[in-house]
């Protein structure tokens, strides 16, 4: 009997200690992968932060529209895409839209900030003309400061002349 009691007591003492070690290990493990993650991240195109679960945002809502050099006029395909966005916004009246105007690096920074805003505003105006409440749409220009493609090639420039869309 006494022997058994000792065993139980010993177990009682040892078990929590064991548990403690395990929990410690977990903590260390949980921390370890967190550190290198940001370093690996920039390689992948950063997806827009997941919106609140209630909104199921289709991919065309965040699809970019593109512009010609030093232009803020909407191309025909951009207008078609904006019409789809407008329909979805009408069907989801709680959703708000942020339009980010971007330019390529070939112009100069000051003028490009202004150009980026005109690009964002021309998409906003188009959506408002289609009946979307202007209060639901905000704009920001990043000019040439946030290129999608950092290379210095005509392909990269074409990609970087765009409006980005964030739904929230």
């Amino acid at each position: 009997m006494q022997k058994k009691l000792w065993v139980v007591l010993a177990l009682l003492l040892v078990m929590p200690a064991f548990l403690f070690t395990v929990s410690c290990q977990k903590k260390v493990q949980a921390q370890a992968p967190a550190a290198p993650a940001p370093a690996a991240k920039p390689a992948a195109p950063a997806p827009a932060p997941a919106p609140a679960a209630k909104l199921d945002v289709p991919s065309f809502m965040t699809e970019r529209i593109f512009f010609d050099f030093d232009k803020s006029a909407l191309k025909l395909e951009s207008q078609a895409l904006l019409k789809k966005k407008a329909d979805w916004l009408k069907a989801n009246p709680s959703a708000k839209l942020l339009i980010e105007g971007n330019t390529d690096e070939r112009g100069t920074a000051e003028y490009n900030l202004a150009l980026g805003e005109r690009r964002a505003e021309s998409a906003k105006k188009f959506l408002v003309d289609l009946g979307i409440d202007a209060k639901r749409i905000s704009t920001i220009s990043y000019g040439e400061e946030r290129p999608l493609d950092p290379r210095h090639t005509p392909e990269a420039w074409a990609k970087n002349r765009n409006d980005g869309f964030v739904v929230n």
């Binding site: 100069t108 000051e110 003028y111 900030l113 202004a114 220009s141 990043y142």
Partner: protein, 442 residues
């Protein structure tokens, strides 16, 4: 040939601009610096080692440092050809430094037209320097000054004498008390930095951890305005450099490209809260005074005429970006640039006669200057890569700009005539948006 022709026009304009300079000393020293183009013929200047008065090797190092700062600072102006010390028939330790002790023929024979001698004394941490400028051709002293201070102030004392030299020769106080603000990505983000006129002592000013752009100095050098996204969108921040306090201009939309009015606590800047990008006049604490432009389209990048009565700016009112001038008294606007399809970043010369800007030439941006009447546009940079963002030195003799000619964007300096192009400094990251201050720092 075309370049030659344009240069001749500019020389004529430069003559008009400079001849108005009020200075008694100038007429006397007229022959030294060719005021039509002071960089065309560099004046041969000899700066032998300073005489180390009763000093040991430690003092010798300080004296050496002082003479090197002097040579490189005067060389920086572009006015001089600094002669090689190895050619001098002169032993600074054995020779005197005053006019009566100097055999001027020893200097004219090595080609020197100007000579600077120094007597350097150091006791502990206190340094005193006797510095003299001589006209070797006429065989007489032009300037003589004595400075003393802590060893840590050697650069300051030497630069003060350099200012005297430049004032004597040109009638203008020069650049030695000026600083340059710029944007650098050294920390991984675009932050504002400040360095001396020659790139010395670059120091980080902002820790916004965001995108910060377009620094602009108030003419008293006490405030710096810039654009930053630190509040989530492009807003203007006005920083008091003494107490580091900031005022923010944060209207809906863009708040960008601030430009301080000369000698006033006011600035012009582009804002888009009205739905259109227009230039407004604001107080130095961010209060609205009035709207300056009123044409649909982008109006950005204001730059003030030195008398504060006009601004030049960029507008796309006729399609692509071109430079316009607005007369603030009459409200009259006129287009300045007609050559090229993309002319931006105007910077009005402190002498008032020219505007520097960047122009797209064959797909690349190059620095150009044009006279304020719109005549004689002249391309100053021709290197491969983009050269952008020109800003004049406070005396109008030099232009700082950024260029990708060596790959990464770095800061470069050239004379107002495009000669003597050189890199200002080597720093981590990329440097852009340089802005030269007035010559107010000491």
């Amino acid at each position: 040939m075309k370049f030659r022709h344009l240069l001749t026009c500019l020389i004529a304009c430069g003559l008009l601009g400079l001849s108005a300079l009020p200075c008694a000393a100038q007429s006397e020293s007229y022959q030294y610096i060719d005021i039509r183009n002071p960089f065309l013929r560099k004046i041969p200047l000899a700066i032998p080692l300073f005489k180390n008065q009763a000093g040991g090797p430690r003092e010798g190092d300080s004296a050496r440092k002082a003479v090197d700062i002097m040579a490189s600072s005067l060389d920086f102006t572009g006015y001089f050809k600094i002669l090689d010390r190895a050619a001098f028939l002169f032993d600074p330790q054995k020779s005197g430094v005053a006019a009566t002790d100097i055999n001027f023929q020893n200097w004219t024979v090595v080609g020197a037209e100007l000579l600077i001698t120094g007597l350097f004394e150091q006791a502990g941490d206190t340094v005193s320097m006797e510095l003299r400028l001589f006209d070797t051709v006429r065989g007489r002293q032009a300037l003589g000054k004595r400075y003393s201070g802590n060893t840590s102030e050697i650069r300051k004392m030497v630069l003060r004498f350099c200012s005297e030299v430049i004032y004597y020769l040109t009638g203008n106080k020069g650049i030695f008390n000026s600083k340059i603000a710029f944007v650098s990505t050294g920390s991984g983000k675009k932050e504002i930095y400040i360095c001396d006129f020659d790139g010395y002592n670059p120091t980080r000013l902002t820790y916004n951890e965001s995108i910060s752009l377009f620094p602009s100095w108030s003419s008293d050098g006490q405030h710096l305005a810039y654009t930053s996204y630190k509040g989530g969108k492009p807003d203007i921040y006005i920083r008091n450099l003494a107490d580091k306090k900031e005022t923010v201009i944060s209207q809906v939309g863009l708040n960008i490209t601030p430009a301080w009015a000369p000698e006033r606590f006011e600035l012009a800047a582009t804002m888009s809260f009205s739905g259109d990008q227009e230039i407004y006049l604001l107080t130095g604490s961010g209060k609205m005074i009035k709207k300056l432009t009123n044409v649909k389209g982008s109006d950005v990048s204001p730059t003030w005429s030195p008398d504060g009565r006009k601004i030049a700016f960029v507008s796309n009112r006729t399609g692509g970006p071109q430079i316009y001038i607005l007369d603030l008294d009459s409200g009259a606007e006129r287009r300045l640039t007609f050559e090229g399809k993309y002319n931006t970043q105007p910077s009005w010369s402190p002498r008032g006669d020219k505007i520097a800007y960047s122009s797209q030439v064959g797909g690349l941006h190059q620095i150009c200057v044009i006279d304020v009447e719109g005549r004689s546009p002249l391309q100053l940079t021709r290197e491969n890569g983009d050269s952008e963002s020109p800003s004049w030195s406070p005396d109008g003799s030099l232009i700082v700009f950024n260029s990708t000619r060596e790959g990464q964007s770095r800061l470069y300096v050239m004379t107002a005539f495009g000669t003597d192009q050189r890199r200002l400094m080597l720093l981590n990251g990329e440097q852009t948006n340089p802005k030269w201050s007035s010559g107010v720092f000491d």
